[in-house]
């Protein structure tokens, strides 16, 4: 229940907004002002929560007029939805329409800080998140005031080894539980007050063991006594568990595969928890389950070949809310639930809400969704290395748009670009540079990072994760997609690179901070160098003598590390503002590196003979990263928007008694 004082009439709502009753009625009708109704035997009375009104008012600053054209769903999607609705009506599947006229969607928060690690407060005013770019502190965003506040001590992420992670707000809106990392496999669960202006004083409630590689508190029970958490174990097992807030005792309810729940939510009465799980160890399709918190029984609530993701429970606990793509688009569905089991078939509430991750529901039933925005695609531009300038405008490929693209790899003959892209799942695409034609390579990995072509153009090597959750270096046949493990690693980020002769792979083993060489025929390995702060690794120099690696030390500037492959000798090249985009020049005498100076990016030439780096050109606005063609005549980079938003979906629940 929302314990906030209600505004019990149109007049009171108008007074709160300093408008007359007629205006606020119009705002409710036309602009989604959140107003609720008590239905009586005859007629109804209205009421509203000040917190929701504040949030709505703040959102109007972001989306001043939530007219149809500004709705989340773009025109083609809307048209598709319309067609889909007609088809569904024909099939007897009808969206629940009880309050559709009053439904509203609002972007309540947009910007680079938005993440999916937090939770919305019951009154919709606050959203917790992690300050990933700067301090990794646990933060709270005030939706109304558009301000941000740290809930954990100020420090810089670099060097401290401490960072916050998943968080969730208690049902009374007063406390935040969060995971706090103090080092490698050292983490605990803490609780801190959400309100107040003084320095927050966190309380440790549970200490993880070094057998736990991740802790994620997802929800509080309604009485504030339990936290529903997911634990990831060192052997890859995921566990659904409860932590007692009073004494930190752990109750593991169920162990699952490595691909554990994305979300866990207590039911309104906290007798049950709901969670989503993959249909099998090697599947990415999720279904939804409900378990009694005493572990006495589990119910398969939503089992369907579609992708079903848990969103939460309706505030009155009578409906389990989830998203599903079973109709062809991602819709919002509700499953009637009572007495520990489903009470009917799922109802389609909204036919197209698009992909998103739940940040929870407010007490009044507004669903807050995290939505990723990534429209970035590959573009190319000619470059004249003699003059050190880009020699033409960027050109995008006109066919086969692939959003969510990563930096591409050029084939040795310069005819193809390979890169992972696609909004739904990492797919690997090969694009013919001259024609723009796109071909998807049917690999079997669940995740993959940037790829690199083999010198013979037959295969690609990537750092990725297979369907059993194993991270490693994988080789993918460029034609057939047949995927095979080269070596398993402890985590992603191996940056595998082919040797010039294609007989060896160089890769970074993050857990051992070790740059290694692996002979593909024999499997023999050799450590080239051990360095704790290596990031991305370049391909070998054209003569095969060196590798260049990006170094990100705890303090000081990033730089490049030149490594002699034969004996592991190292030489550092500090480069101010260095990004992790760099590539060898075709003559092997220098590395081209992209630097960042405020919002501007510049291309530098960094000679390996020790001469000072030389600025070549300014990077086009909106372009990110680069990949140099083997002949040094073109570069490919990413163009487009990347970010995230939080959207509030309101008034979608059918009237009580439906």
């Amino acid at each position: 229940m929302n314990e906030e004082k209600q505004l019990g009439s149109w007049k009171a709502i108008g007074a709160y907004l300093e408008r007359d009753a007629r205006t606020v009625r119009r705002w409710e009708k036309e602009e989604g002002l959140p107003v609720h109704r008590h239905t009586h035997k005859r007629g109804s009375s209205v009421y509203a929560y000040p917190g929701e009104i504040d949030a709505w008012r703040a959102s109007r600053r972001i989306v001043p007029e939530p007219a149809p054209a500004r709705l989340l769903w773009k025109t083609p999607a809307f048209a598709l939805t319309l067609i889909l609705c007609l088809i569904m009506v024909g099939n007897g599947v009808r969206p629940v329409s009880a309050q559709q006229s009053k439904m509203s969607d609002r972007a309540v928060w947009t910007g680079p800080k938005v993440d999916l690690f937090g939770r919305v407060s019951p009154d919709g005013r606050f959203i917790t998140y992690v300050d990933w770019p700067d301090t990794a502190n646990l933060m709270v965003h005030d939706v109304v005031a558009d301000t941000d506040r740290s809930l954990t001590p100020n420090f810089t992420e670099a060097g401290s080894g401490q960072l916050s992670s998943w968080s969730t707000i208690s049902r009374d809106g007063k406390q935040v539980a969060y995971a706090w990392y103090t080092g490698y496999r050292r983490q605990d669960l803490r609780i801190v007050g959400l309100q107040g202006n003084g320095p927050p004083t966190p309380r440790q409630v549970f200490v993880g063991t070094d057998d736990m590689i991740d802790l994620a508190p997802f929800d509080w029970s309604s009485d504030g006594r339990w936290l529903a958490v997911e634990i990831k174990r060192a052997d890859g097992t995921g566990q659904i568990a409860l932590v007692a807030v009073a004494d930190g005792s752990l109750r593991v309810l169920k162990s699952v595969g490595w691909n554990g729940p994305k979300r866990i939510f207590f039911s309104g009465d906290s007798k049950y928890i709901a969670y989503d799980l993959t249909a099998g160890d090697t599947s990415d399709q999720r279904d939804i389950f409900v378990m009694a918190i005493d572990g006495s029984r589990e119910v398969a609530a939503v089992v369907h070949p579609a992708q079903d993701n848990l969103l939460g429970w309706s505030p009155d606990g009578t409906r389990l809310l989830f998203s599903s793509d079973r109709t062809g688009s991602v819709g919002l569905w509700a499953l009637p639930f009572g007495d520990g089991k489903p009470q009917g078939m799922p109802e389609l509430l909204r036919p197209d809400i698009g992909p998103g991750t739940s940040l929870g529901l407010t007490a009044s039933g507004a669903l807050y969704l995290y939505k990723s925005i990534n429209t970035r695609e590959v573009a190319t531009v000619p470059i004249d290395l003699n003059k050190g300038k880009l020699s033409g405008p960027p050109s995008s490929f006109v066919q086969g748009y692939l959003p969510n693209a990563q930096l591409p790899s050029w084939s040795a003959d310069g005819k193809y670009l390979a890169y992972s892209a696609c909004a739904d799942k990492n797919c690997l695409a090969v694009r013919t540079v001259d024609t723009g034609e796109v071909r998807k390579v049917p690999h079997t990995l669940l995740y993959l990072g940037a790829s690199q072509w083999s010198p013979d153009g037959r295969s690609l090597v990537v750092s990725g994760r297979d369907s059993k959750g194993r991270d490693g270096v994988y080789r993918i046949d460029a034609q057939t997609g047949v995927t095979s493990a080269v070596v398993y690693t402890q985590g992603l980020g191996a940056f595998p690179r082919w040797s010039v002769d294609g007989k060896k792979i160089y890769y970074y083993e993050p857990s051992a901070s070790s740059l290694k060489e692996r002979d593909l025929a024999s499997g023999a390995e050799r450590e080239i160098v051990r360095h704790p702060n290596l990031g991305r690794v370049s391909a070998p120099s054209p003569d095969g003598v060196y590798l260049m690696a990006w170094v990100d030390p705890p303090t000081g500037d990033q730089g490049l590390l030149l490594v002699t492959l034969a004996d592991g000798q190292q030489r550092e090249f500090p480069v101010k503002g260095l990004t992790d985009s760099f590539a060898w020049t075709p003559d092997g005498q220098a590395v081209l590196a992209l630097t960042k100076d405020g919002a501007r990016k510049n291309l530098f030439r960094v000679p390996i003979n020790g001469e000072a780096p030389q600025k070549l050109d300014t990077w086009p606005d909106g372009a990110d990263g680069f990949s140099l063609s083997p002949d040094g005549r073109r570069v490919a980079f990413l163009m487009g928007k990347r970010g995230a938003e939080v959207w509030a979906l309101e008034n979608f629940l059918p009237a009580t008694g439906h």
Binding site: V207, T209, D211, R233, A234, D235, G236, T237, Q239, L250, R251, V252, L253, K254, S255, K271, D281, M291, I293, D294, G295, S296, R297, E298, K468, R470, Y488, Q490
Partner: protein, 292 residues
């Protein structure tokens, strides 16, 4: 009231390291009475044709519910074809028998009673002998087997924060188990099994399969709980010691057309092998049975 109920239910928590939730069929909930009947039947030799064997003869509680023999021996000393698997933690199982042919303990429990190489009864004889029909017998036996659990091992204590529960060498073995040995590819989770079928090459002899198992030489991955107390090993009991098992996997199994793709030579050092054995011995814990 609710709080008290929840608290009371938590009091009957499983041994350390195991899940609270037990996947029990809705049509055969675990009850005190049914477990008691099942326990009695488990030790009842009337369920074998010559009244010489009970379930407990092969699944001996003193041997962590195995018999210590390579191959099961039934009535009149008839020998079966496979090793007797332990019954610990089968409540968490998804498939049953070494070839995974039974989908539930209820379906599993009847087969040894009817198998001529094991207990050799017929369906009508079951009722005559013990006064209960086959369905009642299997439901009771399944309920009892679901109470046989092993946990609170040094490994469990270590993973829940007792850093001294494992010796230095056992910890090194755990690192091999999860790292170079890649044992967790199949032996993961609280029960140290993925409950899946794999071809490890054990059945491949002289260029052919001596036992097809679930087909193409696939057999279910067993739990490693109580492993030090359940020798000999593999589906045919062909390996006498843990050291032999580790040597077998270290060489990548027996090459055959359907060998699991995850098996390949491990190149473990003698120290790593020794550490791995020490770790496997830490998986013996407290075995509990008969308590719903």
């Amino acid at each position: 009231m609710l709080v008290a109920l929840v608290f009371a239910l938590f009091l009957v928590s499983p041994p350390l390291g195991l899940d609270l939730y037990r996947p029990v069929p809705e049509d055969n909930p675990i009850t005190q009475d049914r477990v008691a009947v099942g326990r009695k039947l488990f030790f009842d030799k009337r369920l074998s044709r010559d009244r010489s064997l009970a379930c407990a003869t092969c699944h001996d509680p003193k041997r962590s519910f195995t018999d210590g023999l390579p191959i099961a021996v039934g009535i009149e000393k008839r020998t079966g074809t496979r090793n007797v698997p332990t019954l610990v933690n089968r409540v968490y199982g998804r498939v049953f028998f070494l070839d995974g042919r039974a989908a539930s303990l209820e379906k599993q429990a009847i087969e040894p009673i009817l198998n001529p190489l094991e207990m050799g009864l017929t369906l009508p004889e079951i009722k005559t002998r013990v006064g209960l029909g086959p369905e009642e017998v299997t439901r009771a036996l399944a309920s009892y087997v679901r109470t046989i659990v092993s946990g609170n091992s040094p490994y469990d204590r270590y993973t829940t924060g007792d850093t001294k529960a494992l010796s230095t060498e056992a910890k090194a073995g755990l690192a091999v188990f999860r790292g170079k040995g890649r044992c967790t590819t199949c032996h993961a989770g609280p029960n140290l099994t993925d409950e899946r079928l794999h071809n490890t090459g054990v059945a491949w002899r002289n260029g052919q399969l001596s036992d097809v198992g679930a087909g193409e030489g696939n057999f279910k991955v067993p739990t490693l709980r109580e492993i030090a107390r359940t020798a000999p090993y593999m589906h045919d009991g062909s390996l006498k010691t843990l050291e032999e098992v580790i040597d077998y996997y270290d060489r990548g199994g027996n090459a055959n057309p359907n060998l699991d793709e995850d098996l390949h030579p491990l190149h473990l050092t003698p120290q790593e092998k020794s550490a791995l054995v020490k770790f496997l011995r830490s998986l013996s814990g407290d075995v509990r049975e008969g308590k719903p």
